[in-house]
Assembly symmetry: C2
């Protein structure tokens, strides 16, 4: 009786269709997602949060995919009047990338859990987002796709795999395909994640935290701003983080997607051929001392595209977007607000 009542109430809720609160977590159930590898992601679920209102002509939607380890909740602080995109003007869809523990991931899949979760690509993430945007949200175009780091990799991929769908692409601290240094970094992370699955020991997680510290900002930055007496706190934080094996499996899914990321892969590995497909206006923003996603491939792609490239004038590195947050905010908001038809 009680369960029947609950089902009845739940049905009633569906009928009433109360408006969603701003930024509330929602799920698109996509059934099966066919992956680039030919494998199928079962019970394919894409989580997202909406900020702002869709304009009457549906022309103000901006998709904001998540960075590595990020969720649509961690994207939220970038949205607003002082952020990268203002939800007073835009209908912002913050979307959880596969493997982040909210959208389909090794940690939450009932049919393909853990190591049985299929390998997938940045292109697969983008394909699922295309279905979210078109099938679930009913949009036939986007004002923009923007992202930071792995989020920017998805933005670059949107530009190439769905030319003409988004008018503008913003890729921050990101890459159209990773440089050799970046790939060795992620291969190293992958091996520590694998060692962690064998030892389930604190040391492996501490090592990952150490690598995040070492690469997140440049050595020059640390030489200036990280005194030796701050070390006990830093080492203490390295050694106090911990996560369970399914989280390591989630991280590995995203790391492998980044290692394989290459917008040019379907086009003879040619950035020129990939660029020739792009119809969007593209803004590339990098920091010169980024030691996680090194800037050379993004700058090369910007040059091939004839796109605007901004090099933030700091040595804070990958974690240092806040070092020039005002400049960054003005650049992205100005770019999104800019009139169309000025593709260079």
């Amino acid at each position: 009786m009680v369960s029947a009542l609950l089902i009845g109430l739940s049905f009633l809720t569906l009928l009433v269709q109360e408006p969603r609160a701003q930024g509330e977590l929602q799920y698109a159930e996509l059934g099966q997602c066919l992956l680039e590898s030919g494998e199928v992601l079962e019970n394919c679920r894409v989580a997202y949060r909406i900020f702002g209102e869709l304009s009457s002509d549906s022309s103000n939607a901006v998709l904001f995919p998540t960075q590595f380890m990020g969720t649509s909740a961690t994207v939220a602080p970038y949205i607003g009047a002082d952020g990268l995109v203002d939800d007073a003007e835009h209908f912002v869809i913050a979307v959880d990338a596969f493997g982040n523990g909210v959208s389909s991931s090794p940690s939450n899949s009932s049919t393909q859990p853990g190591d049985s979760f299929p390998r997938l690509t940045i292109r697969d993430m983008v394909a699922s987002q295309y279905r979210l945007v078109t099938e679930v949200l009913g949009l036939s175009s986007l004002r923009g796709v923007m992202g930071i780091s792995m989020g920017g990799m998805q933005a670059f991929e949107w530009a190439v795999s769905h030319p003409g769908f988004a008018e503008k692409i913003v890729a921050i601290a990101s890459s159209p395909r990773l440089a050799s240094y970046d790939i060795v970094l992620w291969e190293t992370v992958l091996r520590i994640l694998s060692a962690y699955q064998e030892c389930e020991c604190q040391e492996a997680v501490s090592a990952l935290m150490g690598i995040a510290f070492l690469t997140g900002s440049s050595p020059d930055y640390h030489a200036r701003l990280t005194p030796r007496d701050s070390l006990p706190g830093i080492i203490g934080r390295m050694d106090s983080q911990m996560f369970a094996v399914p989280i390591a499996q989630n991280l590995a899914v995203q790391v492998r997607a980044m290692i394989g990321h290459n917008v040019a892969a379907p086009y003879d590995d040619s950035l020129e051929q990939a660029a020739a497909r792009v119809k969007a206006k593209v803004l590339v923003i990098v920091t010169p001392e980024d030691h996680v996603v090194t800037p050379a491939p993004a700058l090369e792609f910007a040059e091939v595209l004839g796109a605007e490239a901004i090099q933030l004038p700091n040595d804070c590195g990958h974690n240092g977007l806040r070092c020039d947050s005002e400049m960054l905010s003005q650049a992205t908001q100005g770019f999104l607000a800019d009139e169309l038809g000025r593709k260079m």
Copy 2:
């Protein structure tokens, strides 16, 4: 009968005292080495190799301690007419640092093997070398002490703990005490070594190789000179290295010594007070983009000392001494040959 004969022959060999071949591995058996911690290193053994001839006034001896993971054999290529010190002019003592698997180490100690090997410091390495030089080789002064990386740390420590003993100190790609970035690097390595002891898995060793690649040269260097198509070879080499647990324990001994290294520790942590003790003429050589031993502390110490500091004009990083090998060779050989009495 046979064994008595062998003992007799061996005794005969000792009596004959054949001259040692150039660069032959020799051992100084120092009995007990009292360590800075108060612990005792039993069966304390320091290995070394001699290159060149001692001058009649014993004024041309140069001590060359080993770098991290290095041995007196790996120092040998730096000795010669085109090297850092010419054995046609100098009596070069290449000395194996504790923990390198040749001098006393967790891997070769019969009484304190593995994790029972005592923790020791760069100062302990230097104290053992002082005994080698004075007690075993009978020298009362040195023309110089020179070293690369951890070898240079020992050279810096020689300058402070034994002022006046060596006339000249050359520290290349090294540090009087590590910057915070460097310490986090070695703490990270230490945790991977520890995880390796738990899992004994290839992945942990591969991760160490990955970190060596990522930090050995700068990201800018890799962006220029490491194309994406070289990745299969790089990853293949990462995954084909392996070592046994006792080697991991050796490495940890040296890593801990570097983490604790601080020439100023006995002097209120003051580089100025440490510098005030130094009587040698000091030459500091760094590369600006060294991401293993970052150059700021060495440059600071050179400034306090009023010593000459050379910044090699390349971005090859810690592994890039060969990028300016001719300049390096001229600088060190010129410095060692230079007349005395010109301390700045």
